[in-house]
């Protein structure tokens, strides 16, 4: 209960911080929407010249991209604090985090959500809802599975970020590691099936960005088998378990910098 209360306070503080700079807020908000809009335009024109791309219609490709952005934004919003972890470690500020009677992992993962992304999420939710209603027409069971897979994606994303900050303690270079994660995820702005082997399996099962970003959309389109759904759920739990183990292992290697 205490953990939830303190985390809520972190959220409120971040929100206050975000809205205290309206110019920055609107600059980032507009730029992000512009980025999505321009890539959607590209997919639209690409789809207008070609009937099927790797077996997918233009509408399906656009839907994959919308779901990708939704998940990407959701994950970035919650785990923004990870991007600030390096300065905490190299400055020795992490000592203060460890000293407090609050789980350091929760502090490092959820201590500074980015509510600029919340604004983007509202827009994306509206666009996806429109798209679902007019182009996809999902059944209630596929909607349920979609939310289940979305939850699983958040678990895998949490595990991924735990892995990154744990590596950050050992190597002291989180900045580029987290950006490598971001670039890896941006590979699956298109369905993972468009990649050839062995890259397809690599980004689905080894570095599971395909599983995280493509599977929820596939579930909604009815393109994912139940075996893969079960595999994904097991994968999520096992991945989280090993990430937590690695986090505890890495903590033993932490040595305070500065004074």
């Amino acid at each position: 209960m205490k953990v939830l209360k303190v985390t809520w306070l972190y959220f409120v503080n971040s929100l206050q911080q975000n809205i205290s700079g309206p110019v920055v807020f609107s600059l980032f908000f507009t730029s992000k929407l512009l980025r999505y809009g321009l890539f959607l335009t590209f997919l639209y024109f690409l789809g207008s010249g070609i009937k099927l791309i790797g077996g997918y219609t233009r509408e399906q490709l656009i839907f994959f991209y919308l779901v990708f952005n939704y998940i990407d934004t959701l994950v970035q919003m919650f785990f923004r604090e990870v991007y600030r972890f390096r300065s905490l470690v190299v400055s020795g500020g992490f000592d203060m985090v460890l000293l407090k009677p609050f789980p350091p992992l929760v502090r490092c993962l959820l201590g500074g959500p980015d509510f600029i992304d919340a604004g983007v999420l509202i827009v994306l939710t509206a666009v996806i809802a429109y798209y679902l209603a007019f182009f996809i027409h999902p059944s209630p069971s596929s909607l349920f599975l979609f939310f289940l897979m979305l939850l699983n994606t958040l678990i895998v994303a949490a595990a991924f970020h735990i892995l990154v900050i744990a590596l950050g303690i050992i190597t002291l270079s989180v900045d580029h590691l987290i950006m490598v994660y971001r670039d890896l995820t941006s590979l699956v702005r298109i369905p993972v099936d468009l990649f050839s082997e062995p890259l397809r399996s690599l980004i689905t099962f080894v570095i599971p960005v395909g599983l995280m970003f493509t599977f929820p959309a596939k579930t909604l389109l009815g393109l994912l088998s139940w075996q893969m759904i079960i595999f994904s759920l097991i994968f999520g739990v096992v991945f989280l378990f090993f990430s937590l183990k690695f986090w505890h292992f890495s903590l033993r290697y932490y040595s305070s910098a500065s004074s």
């Binding site: 700079g21 730029s31 992000k32 980025r35």
Partner: protein
């Protein structure tokens, strides 16, 4: 001139301190192109020509994008200038006989050289792995104009970044926001992800009135033989016009910024 050569040499050595960071940065550049590569490969597996592009032209375009992006886009000044001005570290430069913006341009050039060396290796490696068919312009004059456009692109990108960063003098808290806008436009409107001429004619023409297509797309179009010599000359001229406009703006805005600049503390 000699002091800038020394800055170049020192920065060159500095870049080898954080080797892991550099390797990861280069790895990221390859990842950025892989998505586009596979998207186009899938498209060309069932078609021989798309939007007037042959498979050979698209593959050459994608490989050259890695090279050009490493050359034009690597600009450590964009990550550092805002912080230096807002923290007051700019004082150190104002008291020295060195131009601040020239100093950072020199450091950018050093970073570009290292990036280009690695980009050549990466392109060769990717070519070995995927063995894509490639085609380049057969007209040496157009390639030469493409090289000039590339030089102009490097300066345009530097000036664009500095124009956005100049906001630090008046609103330090918004600086990164303005820079983010430039980077998003750089990602989407320069041809990094797709050749711009697949857009409708009106959108493509409108884009020529912005500095963005001159950063990657037009030099690339010259290299892969999409431009006639006459078109190439016209586009080089347009690129130089943008260079002139941005140079003038940066000069005016930065000199106004220096006048309002103040730093406290020790």
């Amino acid at each position: 001139m000699r002091k800038y050569l020394t800055v170049f040499a020192i920065d060159w050595q500095n870049q080898f301190i954080y080797r892991l960071n550099f390797v990861l940065w280069r790895f990221r550049n390859i990842l950025r192109v892989l998505m586009t590569y596979f998207l186009w490969s899938t498209i060309f597996s069932v078609q021989t020509s798309v939007f007037g592009y042959t498979r050979e032209q698209i593959m050459a375009y994608l490989l050259l994008v890695i090279f050009l992006y490493g050359f034009v886009g690597s600009s450590p000044s964009n990550d550092n200038i805002g912080g230096e001005v807002s923290s007051g570290a700019l004082n150190n430069f104002l008291t020295k006989p060195i131009g601040y913006l020239r100093y950072w341009f020199t450091r950018d050039l050093s970073s570009k050289l290292l990036n280009v060396i690695f980009a050549v290796g990466e392109i060769f490696l990717l070519w070995l792995i995927f063995r894509p068919p490639l085609v380049f312009s057969s007209q040496p004059a157009v390639i030469l104009i493409g090289i000039l456009m590339l030089v102009s692109a490097v300066i345009i990108f530097y000036l664009l970044g500095k124009l956005a960063l100049a906001s630090v003098f008046w609103a330090p808290e918004n600086t990164w926001g303005f820079m983010f806008v430039v980077l998003v436009l750089m990602e989407m409107l320069t041809g990094l992800i797709f050749p711009l001429d697949i857009l409708p004619r009106s959108a493509f023409t409108a884009l020529q009135f912005t500095p963005f297509p001159y950063l990657l797309y037009f030099p690339l179009a010259a290299f892969i033989g999409r431009l006639s010599p006459l078109e190439a000359v016209r586009l080089l001229f347009q690129s130089l016009v943008w260079l002139g406009i941005l140079f003038y703006l940066v000069k005016r805005v930065w000199s106004a910024g220096y006048k309002v600049y103040s730093a406290s503390g020790g």
